[in-house]
Amino acid sequence: MIIHDPLASASGELSSRAVRGVGVSTSPAPKRRRHSIGRQLWWFAVPALVVYVTVVVSPTVQGIVMSSTDQTALAPTAKFIGTKNYVMVFSTDAGAAAIRTLEIALAAMVIQNVLGLLLAVVLNGRVLGRNLLRTIIFAPVVVSPLVSGYLFQFLFGPPNVGAVNAVFHALGLRQVVWLGQPNTALIVIVIVIGWQFTGSTMVIYLAGLQGVPEEILEAAALDGAGAFARFWFVTRPFLAPAVIINLMLGLIGGLKVFDQIFATTGGGPAGLTNTISTLIYQLITPLGNYGRASALAVLLAVAIAVLSIIQFAVLRRREVKA
């Protein structure tokens, strides 16, 4: 628990000030509840701060500045062009890519959470070899997204090549050019993300389920509540924080997704599976359009920041209530 006790912190601050003022402490604060180490050790944070400012803060500020310039790889001397990049971003194919990014993120979030929650509930109960099953379902989480991208590129390969088409063929279904058309290609991307990250959603739900007190569940069962009623009225409220965390992690992860798309479709066909991340990459490497790439990145940043703040606020409100 983080103790937000204004009295405690005020006295801590006072006493540390007193120590510094007097030099050697002669009269230790008698009522001090929390032992504060004061400012003396603040320098411990300096190495972390230096790297953080160098690698994150200062380049971010520069990136925001860059997004309002016409900087390119070839003409490094940039001039200020205001919001032109942002306007350009929406008048080109970035608007469609943004919507697509959101669609992928939402679809992946739903699949991951529905499947992850169901698996967690089932694998929290009595299932033979449940630890092995958990391990297998979780394993893709540690595999590189690039590897899973390549793997699924083959699984959903063209007719008479891909494994899924082989299944379709065996079942007498018509084979599909999965990655050759935007709609099915998007489905494949969502499946890759689902295959890879359902395991991490599941283990967060499992951790949440283990926090549900057994006694209450038993009491509810004695009172005649069925399995579904027990889940809905007892388990669900305890699971609420895990739900919020998983929804947000799924959504933010989906918004950032890059490797899987890069490896399966490369943004194709005809740029119709591009997301914001792959579009940023294309603006950087072949085109060298630094200004516009930065503008796009700032927009993505804003979207993610807004979602993170919502998550933080919701979680915090729940904690206050609890």
Partner: protein, 274 residues
């Protein structure tokens, strides 16, 4: 909780069914990786004349051996400063009530909200000007900074919420300096969260593709994902060879996962809540 027999059947069917679905790609992966080029049957049918040749060819031609070495170096060397710096920073940030410390903590938290894409280009130009591009140091510096907010957040909140202050106070009363208290009392108590942090940071760094793709392009070193990318670019339609390379590339991390699965799963379940 005792479920009904019907419920148990449903639970077993669902969990085993899903697991088989999760394993289907793995089956195809292995089945094709051991298949000789001459065998032209469906990817679903079990390979009739399994061979180890694809692995040997992939190992020879992909440069994955050196890439694994590079990935190990980058991951290990990055985790050292991340761990030391965030450990150090967490102590004053968690234990000092001075306003300066609180402000510093919030300053780090802002970093959790900044996706690195915004910083990416200026950072790339900075690395270029420092002549670090094409070296592992660009990656080490990048990951150290990038993972710092998350690591500090994890460490500081753990220290605040789960480590009792009595030990530190006792050490203090016995005359230990703040530095000694930190080194001999606080650091050992933080071991569980250091484990979580190493796992989450290690997996993220190990699997990162985008950064080394840009930072190491044009150089003769590559990390595993980058080596794989170039290999697949050359042998794109030779799937048995590509699949053998995929298996080689993921075997180190999968081996570690199997060995430490309890910790890894616990780390992901607990640490990602940040």
């Amino acid at each position: 909780m005792k479920g009904s027999r019907g419920g148990s059947i449903v639970a077993h069917t669902f969990s085993y069914g899903s697991t088989l679905l999760f394993l289907f790609p793995v089956y195809v992966l292995i089945n094709l990786a051991i298949r000789p080029a001459s065998e032209l049957i469906s990817p679903l049918s079990p390979t009739t004349h399994p061979t180890f040749g694809n692995f040997i060819d992939a190992w020879k031609q992909s440069g994955l051996g050196w890439a694994i070495v590079t990935s190990v170096i980058v991951t290990v060397v990055s985790c050292v400063p991340i761990t030391i710096f965030s450990l150090m920073a967490s102590y004053p940030l968690a234990r000092s009530t001075a306003r300066l410390s609180r402000t510093t903590f919030y300053f780090f938290l802002v970093g959790l909200l900044l996706p690195f894409q915004v910083a990416f280009l200026p950072l790339y130009l900075m690395m270029r000007d420092l002549q670090l591009l094409g070296t592992v140091w660009s990656l080490v510096l990048f990951y150290t900074g990038l993972q710092m907010p998350f690591s500090i957040f994890l460490m500081t909140t753990f220290l605040r919420s789960s480590v009792e202050q009595e030990f530190e106070e006792a050490a203090h009363i016995d005359g230990a300096s703040h530095f000694k208290t930190f080194l001999y009392i606080v650091v050992p108590l933080l071991r569980p969260v250091v484990g979580t942090m190493l796992i989450l940071n290690g997996v993220a760094i190990w699997n990162d593709f985008f950064t080394p793709l840009l930072y190491l392009s044009g150089s003769n070193i590559s990390t595993i994902p980058v080596a794989l990318y170039s290999f697949v670019g050359v042998y794109v339609s030779n799937w048995p060879l590509v699949f053998a390379a995929l298996i080689i590339s993921m075997s180190p991390i999968l081996a570690l996962f199997v060995a430490f699965q309890r910790y890894v799963i616990r780390g992901f379940a607990g640490g990602l809540k940040g």
